[in-house]
């Protein structure tokens, strides 16, 4: 192999450096200037300028053939897990079937924090070390708009035809070219049945004096504010404006200030439910099912009368991932109804795969009638999707929400 034909690294900055160094007549000055430029771009990248200034997708060579691995970043408790063997059964099945090893990481703790972590590298066109990331609709919309993900080749994912018809057309990814749904779920309300036997019907019921200081709400703006807006009679999918948003924020602020709401939290609200600090709150559907399974059925979840939010998390391939073909194979595998049913039986979120319901009959017939996995039409009518926000609007509203929750 001749020197010039050596395979170049995929990272654009390192590639520039290697190219400069391998030029036949390189001088110390040319290397230094590249190194200087590198330092400078590194500096600018750290500054976080640019956002839409997406560079043309770098020509990434797919190395799936020679490197049979795939790296997948997902949320916690979001894939079937065998507690005894400490393995993920469906991942093992995938490896057995395709020979592709999976590095599965529960890396994502929040859409915002994950975006904050990787966006500098994505903008610079660098490989973030993940071939699949799993992000919620609105964040998926942001990174698709910013050009931080690769277009999927649906021909490599024949099972993608099994996607629920209602999820085929989404406003954040026109034509479903860049993403596939992993799981969907609701944000609704839940309460501890023993500590609060009366139960909840609407978001308003959370302001019961008996619950003072024992209410927790989600720090995901679209879920908490979405529920409050619906309580105020606003259609969150429609063209509402800042005043409707502001009215809901005021309700939130008032109830935090008067001590009714004790905590505003992400995933960690579950600990407060288990420790007893929280007895009611705005929560995610699948969590309650899992917590009930582990803690003797203590809680009950409902969609508020005025409606709950419906969200999905989506699988995407980041811009510089060199293993897109492997990632697509993995997506195809999980869109097999039998595999999807296996996952749904564990994670208890809404399964996006047609045919999984029939497969579930074989695994656990009881779960077939679980409306949190296979939703009824009545539930779906009550669940709404928060409309997409413009970049400017998102910053303003987010800022307002963050200051209302005191962060």
């Amino acid at each position: 192999m001749s020197h010039s034909q050596r395979r170049l690294p995929q990272d654009p900055q390192i590639r520039a450096l290697v190219q400069a160094m391998s030029q036949r007549s390189y001088s110390r000055r040319s290397v230094l200037s590249v190194a200087g430029a590198l330092g400078l771009t590194g500096l600018l990248a750290a500054c976080g300028t640019g956002g839409s200034s997406t560079q043309a997708a770098p020509s990434i060579k797919d190395i799936s053939e020679t490197d049979p691995t795939v790296n997948w970043a997902n949320w916690t408790l979001y894939l079937d897990y065998d507690d005894e063997k400490k393995t993920y059964p469906t991942l093992d099945a995938f490896t057995k079937k395709t020979g592709i090893a999976v590095n599965y990481r529960e890396d994502i703790d929040g859409n915002d924090t994950y975006y904050g972590k990787v966006q500098g590298q994505l903008r610079a066109g660098q490989d973030i070390g993940q071939d699949i990331v799993t992000l919620t609709d609105w964040m998926a919309g942001r990174i698709i708009r910013q050009g931080y993900v690769q277009e999927l080749d649906l021909a490599n994912i024949p099972n993608s035809a099994n996607l629920l018809p209602s999820l085929k057309e989404v406003d954040f990814d026109p034509g479903r070219k860049h993403s596939l749904t992993w799981q969907s779920g609701y944000a609704g309300i839940a309460w501890n049945k023993k500590a609060f036997p009366k139960g909840l019907k609407s978001v308003e019921d959370l302001w019961d004096p008996k619950l003072k200081g024992r209410v927790t709400v989600l720090d995901e703006m679209r879920d908490t504010i979405g529920l409050l807006m619906m309580q105020n009679g606003v259609d969150i999918a429609g063209q509402w404006g800042e005043s409707e948003f502001g009215a809901a924020t005021d309700v939130l602020r008032e109830n935090i200030d008067n001590g009714q709401i004790r905590q505003v939290k992400g995933n960690s609200y579950k600990e407060d439910f288990v420790s007893g600090d929280a007895i009611a709150g705005i929560v995610w559907s699948g969590d309650i099912v899992q917590m009930n399974f582990e803690n003797d059925d203590q809680w009950e979840f409902v969609l508020p009368e005025a409606g709950g939010t419906l969200w999905s998390d989506n699988l995407m391939v980041p811009v510089a991932s060199p293993r897109k073909a492997n990632a697509e194979k993995l997506m195809d595998f999980y869109y097999d109804p039998a595999v999807a049913a296996e996952v749904a039986a564990y994670v208890n979120y809404i399964c996006p795969v047609v045919g999984a319901k029939e497969e579930m009959e074989k695994i656990d017939p009881e779960l077939v009638s679980n409306p949190l996995i296979f939703p009824t039409d009545a539930d779906l009518a009550k669940a709404h999707v928060f409309r997409s926000l413009e970049a400017d609007e998102e910053t303003t509203l987010n800022s307002e929400f963050q200051s209302a929750i005191g962060a």
Binding site: C47, T49, D112, R145, Q263, S275, G276, E394, N398, Q402
Partner: protein
Amino acid sequence: MTLMTRKGIADLRSREEIRAERRKGRTGVYLIAPGMLVLALFFALPVLVLLAMSLYVKPEGAEIGEFVPGFEIGNYATVLAAYWPELLRSFGFALIATVLALLIGFPMAYLVAVRLREKSLLQGILLVLLIAPFFSSFILRTQAWKQILADEGFIAQTLKFLAILPADGHLTATPIAVVAGLTYNFLPFMVLPIYANLGRLDTRLLEASGDLYASPMTSFFKVTLPMSAPGVFAGTLLTFIPAAGDYVNAALLGNNRNTTMIGQVIDSRFFKVIDYPGASALSFVLMVSILILVTIYIRRFGTEELM
């Protein structure tokens, strides 16, 4: 003229001496260079980047996270107007935690360093116990406190039974829990410097003070405390500075509007709102405020040994 004088002196010394002196000087420079380089690369440069970033502006119709270099002093006005209460609260919490840590930590350090000086085994055991918290994760310990202070936990229930805490009261998500967490987490940083200092305390001075009819109280204030001042000084700084910028305690034990500290605000501006200039401006304000407070403190109470 000066040149002449210098030359005159040089003439008085042998060449050997001069060479040795130069070598010494150069060795010093070599020794100091790596440290300076690290400081320049990992402190000075980032601070400059931070300062530049805090002045960036958002262009018209920008995408989220898109900012261009600028000179927007207004960023500072905006964040200060919005977040001065959190800034003040951070310093308030840090101050209370530092005083509490001093009140709790000084007797501990005194016991181990002075009272147990003759009993080296017991002294060693207690010293290990003092350092033991460092063996486990800071986050994990704070998380554990959240369970200990939980509504259904022993402490909250007991306080309610004794009517110290109202029946509908709670401990987590209150300023009390946050200050308690800060005090607990930074206590070793207070105790260790004081311990190191009191370890050198000459007890004969206390005897002498007693011989001169000083009461134990007077001896403490006139002899022990002044002699341990450098330790107290280092301990208070090591507690106050990180406590003011801490956000783990505020996030885990507080996480309520009346417990928000500036670290949490910076985190949310940076990661959630994606307002890099705002977050940088707040970080810079925090750094400068700490620097000013510490300078005043050093000017007022600084001891020779530390300067």
